[in-house]
Amino acid sequence: MSKIGLVIGREYSSRVRKKSFIIMTILGPLLFAGIIAAAIWVSVADNSEHEVLVVDYAGMLSYVNPESGRIEPSYPEIFKGDENLFFHFTDKLPSDSAFINSPYTLMLEFDDSILAAKKAHLYYKDLPSAQVSMRITGALENGIERVKVRENDQIDYSTYKRLKTSLSLAKFDINNKEDASMDQEKGIVGMMLAVIIFFFIFLYGSQVMRGVIEEKSNRIVEVIVSSIKPFQLMMGKIIGIGLVGLTQFLIWILFSILIFTAAGMIFESGGFDSVAAVDGLRSGGQTPIDFETFLQQQDGFSLLVSINWPLILFMFFIYFIGGYLLYGSLFASIGAAVDSETDTQQFLMPVMLPLFFSYFVAIMSVSNPEGFAAKLFSFIPLSSPIIMMIRTPLNSTSVWELLISVAILFATAVFFVWLAGRIYRTGILMYGKKPSYREIWKWIKFNS
């Protein structure tokens, strides 16, 4: 085994066997599940009444009742509403002022292009809660599915799965149509990912720092650097600890997949079968559904199903690796410069500030992911890992933006690792006085 491999192995195995790692790995997902539940509960708890005007130009989901002469929904069981959500159908778009002065609070607008574009417009006077917009989306999706079924004679389960429609609502403030509103639900996911990447970078980065200080204060470092190069020791430590972080995250994902699959199997074993599902859809009656569809119909869960998880998790890995290398090497330099953890304060500040600052920019980017600040800080490597966690779920980044941001991040990370290597090799053998920034600058310039 190569020597750097030995160091990685020691750093890794000594950490994954720690009780704190095992506890965190088990409790972590529960904690986050709690946070998600709380966030969803806050965003969906909504008792306000909504009168929704459905503008159905093409008469896809409505018809003119010959007896009353009024436009009524073709599938009243879907649009029957409840005590605080009512649907009213029309085939003409009212003027903005007419809508503003009407008793309607929301206006849903679509035509037959919805089959291809999978997108409808929702105008509002006050932004509806996530719960309300999800119920509207759900009803519309159900309706569109019925339309598709009507046009297909032969339906088996695979067709049924294909017909299942996932729509998105473009929301507009009727008083300010230019300003497309935020995608609340996905914003929540972004916030969560930003919190996780923030904590991962911070927790594992400071573990690097503590590890370096431990070796220095144990006085073992000189023994080790007589066997391997200081840079190998530093890199071995950074990589080993980073792998611990990735392991933890992977275990969390595996847990989630397991729980989701198990829950699905339990759910579907209780009465769901695909034949009944197809029949139900055709007859227009009560439709038994599979687990994924069930979740989509549940308040709050639809966002979890509708998100492009593979892409987002991939981006998370990339940005975690880049951000961790960058901040981890800064933390390693701090560890090398001081003798004990109590001395770290002065140096921690300049590292923590950009991290916290990015977090605040990230919070603000949720409501304005295309804004100047959000775009600017997506390219600055100290903040891009956190900001991009917000912007990726919102689909507000182009491929080019992502590529450039990742390239800048990794180039900077490599530079910081190099810089840290120079501080490290001198710092680890220095005991006594805490160095000044000027001295550290000398260490960087100094050729060993």
Partner: protein, 309 residues
């Protein structure tokens, strides 16, 4: 062949010169004392030999070859600042350090079993280092330093902080290793141990080498005309017998006899001294008095300092 040759080593740190044109030669099989006050540059030189840092100029040869990466496993190094991972188990840690020196895991395990038995510490294998006493940890440190059978052992202040029992143990182990062919460099400012175990020394002061050679040659070269005389008779008679060309440095009284240390003046010989006292007291024995390494150390360092000012 020499175990180590350092030629004209110069090393400058950001703020000061650590080594100024220092050359030393360590013969193979020697126990070489690298002496000097704190901050003289000993550790800097040792770090260069261990390839922890590089010299600004000059070159190091190890057993005739230019110093290079493969020599890491030729050297065993016990630094002055030495320690172990506190949370790691003794055996695991010893294996890790041995593998870093390039041993295979199996080879390291076999050797460790051997050493642990010798030192009667096999029972500690699964203990964490933090459960060990300081003396116990020191034994582990020593074992991990010599485990890979280095041809050159470098020990920086090996006896500071060790308890007397461990000092004795390590001293005898060092002698055993030397007899098996290892060359040893001891860096120390503890002169007592130098006289006992070193056969060569180099003295470094203020970044410069000020003295180098075999221990007995150096003591011989620094010997002044001083003799210790044991006699029967009265101390007053002895003192009166000396003329101004002799300096009576000290006198002592033993059960049956007296003793005195006398320094001869310029151009005086031992014969002159004997002639002067032989009629006044009964001489028992006369010994040439060699200076202790400690005296030479202090003398050289102070001279050096006077010379600088």
């Amino acid at each position: 062949m020499n175990a180590l040759e350092a030629n004209h080593i110069t090393k400058t740190y950001a703020n000061h010169i650590a080594l100024d044109d220092v050359s030393i030669t360590v013969p193979e099989g020697a126990v070489f004392g690298l002496l000097g006050p704190n901050g003289a540059g000993k550790t800097s030189l040792i770090r260069i030999i261990n390839q922890i840092t590089g010299p600004d100029s000059g070159e190091i040869k190890l057993f005739g070859e230019k110093l290079q990466a493969k020599h890491i496993s030729t050297i065993g190094y016990l630094p002055e600042e030495r320690g172990l991972y506190k949370k790691m188990k003794v055996g695991e840690q010893a294996l890790y350090l041995a593998q870093l020196k390039g041993m295979s895991k199996r080879e390291a395990k076999a050797k460790l079993d051997e050493w642990f038995e010798r030192f009667e510490i096999s029972a500690w294998w699964n203990k964490k280092v933090e459960e060990l006493s300081k003396g116990m940890a020191q034994k582990i440190q020593f074992v991990t330093t010599v485990l890979h059978e280095p041809k050159l052992l470098i020990l920086d202040e090996p006896f500071s902080g060790f308890d007397p029992i461990n000092v004795e143990l390590i001293r005898s182990e060092l002698m055993r290793l030397r007899d098996q062919g290892a060359s040893i460099i001891l860096s120390t400012h503890n002169m007592g141990s130098v006289e006992e175990i070193c056969d060569h020394i180099a003295l470094i002061n203020k970044s410069k080498k000020v003295l180098e050679g075999g221990v007995s040659e150096i003591r011989e070269a620094h010997a002044r005309q001083e003799y210790e005389i044991r006699y029967k008779g009265t101390a007053i008679a002895f003192a009166n017998a000396l003329w101004t060309n002799f300096e009576l440095l000290s006198q002592g009284q033993e059960k049956e006899s007296q003793s005195a240390v006398v320094r001869l003046g310029d151009k005086m010989k031992l014969n002159d001294l004997l002639r002067a006292v032989v009629d006044h007291v009964e001489l028992l024995d006369v010994n040439r008095k060699l200076p202790s390494m400690n005296d030479i150390f202090i003398q050289t360092v102070t001279q050096n300092e006077v010379g600088h000012e």
